[in-house]
């Protein structure tokens, strides 16, 4: 049997990325401030993780406006959803197979 850890996605190693992806899985879209509050990180830290996830193509950035203020929201992409689902399955398998 191969090592179950191989199936775990390295991209989701960080707590912040895990938080972003978990949140996006269950919300159609979410904005920066809500995300910041939920995960509890600094602006810079969150922004850099978002950028990384965007570059891999796991999330999509939508720039919009609320009145005159910019309102940037994030949505999960198909590939992001699939990869995260695989990550979840891998985690579950780890728990079941290793004793």
């Amino acid at each position: 049997m191969n090592n179950p850890i191989e199936n775990l996605n390295k991209t989701f190693d960080s707590r912040v990325r895990l938080g972003i992806m978990s949140t996006l899985m269950v919300n159609d879209q979410i904005n920066f401030n809500d995300l910041k509050q939920l995960i509890g990180v600094t602006d810079g830290n969150l922004a850099s993780h978002i950028k990384a996830l965007e570059e891999i193509g796991y999330l999509k950035v939508n720039k919009g406006f609320v009145g005159k203020k910019t309102n940037t929201t994030y949505t999960i992409t198909k590939s992001g959803e699939r990869t995260f689902q695989q990550h979840l399955t891998a985690l579950e398998r780890m728990i079941k197979t290793t004793k």
Binding site: P4, I5, R15, L18, G19, S22, T23, M25, V26, N27, I30, D34, Q37, L38, I39, L88, L91, E92, M94, I95, T98, K99
Partner: protein, 217 residues
Amino acid sequence: MDARQQSLQELQQIKNMMERSSKFISLSGISGIAAGICALAGVWFASQKINYHVNGDYNLSKIKDESQVSLQNDLLLIALLTFLAALISSFLFTYLRSKRTGIPLWGTTTYRLLWNIGIPLAAGGLFLIRSMQLEHYELIAPGCLIFYGLALVNASKYTLGEVRFLGYGQIVLGIINLWMIGYGLYFWAAGFGLLHIIYGIMMWYKYERVSKGINND
């Protein structure tokens, strides 16, 4: 820490984030208990008033003397005060819980929850105001229970899922009440009073008893 432990912890983190970001989970069981007690008190006051006026006939549509208007106003006032007391006390305990868990009370999830409770409640409220204008007083008690139940079922997607069962209970009571016109106060005591208290105790027992744990299921 071994790999299994780590995976388990990570899954728990994911679950926690999903819940926190999509649902309003600060709702306290004690809020339910408090609202239930307010409702029972309100029902007690109302029944005293009705007894005073017409010696125990609970069917408002049968009251046909000049005291009717003053009784109606008294009952409306009691209903309003009960509602306010229940609202304030349930808000208070939920506020305290959100302080304890460190989850902000006002956010996207709160807005979503209130909006989804609000739609059935507002529609129901208008329906009942119109029923009163048309003097169908017998519909008020079952109507309140049914629309409140629908609001809870609708809201359960945006807060603790168990709220759904509280909603089912209210709807069932409301429907039975439709065929037992005149016993509205008893049904209110059962629905707004007892069901809230039972639900509140169960929720408190499940989620809040261990002061540090949100999910220990």
